[in-house]
């Protein structure tokens, strides 16, 4: 005991250790260990049940030459680029709308947030019913009320399929960004607006010079969260288009999943997952760097 006390005096961190240990153990077993294990697997030919032998960097070399890898990585990037601005700006606009002092404000907030509580399976099924070509709701409306004659294949053409996926994600998740923005809007002191009004600023000027600048910090947070969320895109694509038409909307996570579990090639799947992990680490580091520079 004495020894512990003496050591603890010298190294204060020992005192914290017992408190940190339970969490650290769980963290190491379920997060750190799998990362190394995944890297280890990526150096082997590995089926779902057994290790078929060491292949060195073969999986990685194969990956660099695999057009399907680059295509699906490109698709994921495409989704990030399409969805991040849409959903961030969408959240902002909805928050501004729901923050108006008008009747039905509570209704708007609830209506905008509601889809977020649904599971991905539910929203995907709704989207499929909405967009399916021969008996879908949207084509039905277009054909009955707007005189559209041809059948539009919403999920059968790449551009339209991208639109559907981004739309689905927007409708589903925009409520979360809206709530973050709403919280930030409540934090802007009322006195700013009062002062502006006294000075004769119009509503538009108030928005441009008070509201938006005050929302800058939260916009960083929202964008950061949105980019990470968008990179992980998988479930809604899998359930709505299955990655199609062809492989044109197949994101990298889906390709990793198919390679590992459908084509029984865990080693190659692990290699791609590890490469994707590195890419995400780099993206996060750039973000942290940019933010730090901003704050200085």
């Amino acid at each position: 005991m004495n020894l512990y006390n003496r050591l603890a005096k010298k190294y204060p961190f020992l005192k914290a250790l017992p408190f940190l240990l339970p969490f650290a153990l769980v963290y190491v077993i379920f997060l750190i260990f799998p990362i190394f294990r995944g890297f280890w697997m990526s150096l082997h030919r590995w089926t779902m049940v057994r290790n078929m032998g060491f292949v060195g960097l073969d999986n990685y070399l194969y990956m660099i030459k695999d057009p399907a890898f680059w295509e699906s990585l490109g698709n994921t990037l495409m989704f990030v680029l399409l969805s991040t601005p849409t959903i961030v700006i969408g959240g902002l606009v909805l928050a501004l709308l729901a923050n108006q002092k008008i009747k039905g404000q509570l209704f708007l907030k609830i209506a905008f947030f509601l889809p977020y509580v649904l599971s991905v399976a539910v929203i995907s099924s709704i989207m499929v019913y909405f967009f399916q070509p021969h008996s879908g709701l949207l084509n039905g409306i277009l054909q009955s009320y707007f005189g559209v004659e041809e059948t539009i294949f919403w999920l059968g053409e790449a551009n339209l399929a991208w639109f559907v996926i981004v739309f689905a994600t927007l409708w589903w998740t925009v409520g979360f960004n809206m709530v973050l923005y709403l919280a930030a809007l409540q934090d802007i002191p009322e006195s700013f607006y009062e002062a502006a009004e006294v000075d004769g600023a119009t509503k538009l000027q108030q928005l441009l010079y008070i509201t938006l600048p005050s929302l800058k910090p939260i916009t960083w947070v929202v964008t950061l969260l949105q980019i990470i969320f968008s990179f992980k895109i998988f479930s809604q694509v899998w359930l709505i288009t299955g990655g199609g038409p062809g492989t044109e909307t197949r994101p990298i996570v889906q390709y990793i999943y198919e390679t590992s579990f459908k084509q029984n090639s865990m080693g190659y799947g692990a290699a791609m997952a590890f490469a994707f992990f590195i890419i995400l680490v780099i993206v996060s580091m750039i973000q942290i760097y940019l933010r730090n520079r901003k704050e200085v």
């Binding site: 030919r45 089926t47 779902m48 049940v49 057994r50 194969y62 695999d66 499929v128 399916q132 070509p133 021969h134 008996s135 879908g136 059948t151 294949f153 999920l155 059968g156 053409e157 288009t241 299955g242 990655g243 199609g244 038409p245 062809g246 492989t247 198919e258 579990f261 459908k262 084509q263 029984n264 090639s265 190659y268």
Partner: protein
């Protein structure tokens, strides 16, 4: 004192009895992947089996179909597998190659299974190097459902209620398109990337006597025949005999509400169609388009996963269940599937079920596409390449080349 003694004896006897029963009843862990209607019928079978057997207790675990094989394989590999499990016959080779299921010829015979009673076409699919690895439960091929009212409008319904396909199948569809009030002559599962495309392609390719896609670790696809099958399908969609891009339930519903005059899909939908009010339909095996009647189909089988500590008593109990379930195939046929035993299809209970006798022959036409662990990869690659052809991005020849390259890569990996 006497009373106390009596109590002690009573308790002792009771404990003895219960522990005796416990010792005798073997619990069999049984995993399956059924959902929807299938699951209910399977639960009923297990319940009846348990009621009829005091010495065996089958304990069902139902798993999500999407994750089923991942869980079955990893659990078995780590020694936590079930005692008996459902596997598609096209997966049996993959499981056997990985050493995850055990051969059951003799074990089966020891509990009274007579392999000759099973439909030989399905049983062949479960045989690897002369060893049987699975007890076939059913088969579920593609079949052709047709709306009798709509066929009659185009004068295509024979006296006995079957379709009059006198010329080619496409002539039949053309007449249906021209002379019936249906919006589409036919519908099948055509969502791009869906496996539905592959199933029809596989049927047509085998009607041309196409060779297996992979044999002995080499790609052995017959390119010319593969192209011919693709072009046939492409023409179906170009002439709008069947609408492209339909989701699975959408295509079933087009048929149910009379917008499509016929439906090409698996037998599992029979129950759903029977429950549709005002739908007068019939069903036949998939029409012959080319040289023979081959058709895509798969089959549910029961396999005994490998266990580190083999317990022969458990394996026998598991196979007793497999035998009972297949002997009572008429219970399972309620779900629409074709029973695997000829002794079952001859039973009155089965013969009296509507529709089933109309497609029972299809079991003999099924060509399984088992290619070991490559089966899934081949299916995905082919479905993807086909959807590019439908979207006019590549030609049929290019699609076949793409598939060959992709499968070669699959093998090399």
């Amino acid at each position: 004192m006497k009373k106390a003694l009596f109590l002690v004896v009573l308790v002792a006897v009771m404990v003895g009895l219960t522990s005796n029963v416990m010792a005798e009843a073997v619990t069999v862990e049984y995993w399956n992947l059924f959902g929807g209607g299938d699951a209910e019928f399977m639960d009923a079978i297990v319940e009846e089996f348990n009621a009829a057997h005091d010495d065996i207790n089958v304990d069902v675990t139902r798993l999500e179909w999407e994750e089923y094989y991942t869980k079955l394989k990893t659990a078995t590999a780590s020694g936590n597998g079930p005692d008996i499990a459902i596997s598609h016959v096209t997966r049996v080779k993959e499981l056997a190659d990985e050493g995850l299921v055990v051969p059951i010829d003799e074990l089966g015979e020891s509990v009274g299974i007579n392999w000759d009673e099973y439909n030989s076409n399905i049983l062949n699919g479960a045989e690897i190097d002369g060893q049987v690895y699975a007890v076939p439960l059913d088969t579920h091929p593609l079949v052709y459902y047709y709306n009798k009212d709509l066929l009659a409008e185009a004068d295509l319904l024979a006296e006995d209620g079957t379709p009059k396909i006198e010329g080619s199948f496409k002539d039949f569809l053309a007449k249906l398109q021209a002379d019936s009030s249906a919006k589409y002559p036919m519908t099948n599962w055509t969502k791009l990337t869906a496996e539905g495309h592959y199933r029809v392609w596989w049927s047509l390719y085998n009607q041309l006597d196409g060779s297996p896609v992979v044999s002995d670790g080499e790609v052995t696809l017959d390119k010319a025949k593969a192209v011919e099958a693709i072009n046939y399908m492409k023409d179906l969609y170009n002439k709008e005999y069947s609408p492209l891009h339909s989701e699975y339930m959408e295509n079933v519903n087009l048929f149910r509400n009379g917008e499509a005059a016929s439906l090409l899909t698996g037998v599992w939908i029979t129950g759903t169609l029977e429950a549709t009010e005002g739908l007068d339909f019939g069903v036949i095996p998939m029409p012959q388009v080319f040289d023979n009647q081959s058709v895509w189909g798969d089959s549910h089988t029961l396999v005994i996963p490998y266990a580190r500590n083999e317990d022969e008593e458990k394996q026998k109990a598991a196979l007793t269940f497999a035998k009972w379930a297949t002997d009572h195939g008429e219970l399972w046929a309620k779900a629409g599937h074709i029973p695997s035993k000829t002794t079952v299809t001859e039973k009155e209970e089965f013969k009296n079920m509507p529709y089933r006798m109309d497609y029972v022959k299809a079991a003999d036409y099924v060509t399984f596409d088992s290619a070991g662990s490559y089966t899934w990869g081949i299916r995905t690659e082919m479905a993807t390449a086909l959807s590019k052809v439908w979207n006019d991005q590549i030609t049929a020849e290019e699609a076949v080349d793409e598939v060959v390259t992709a499968v070669e890569r699959l093998i090399s990996r």
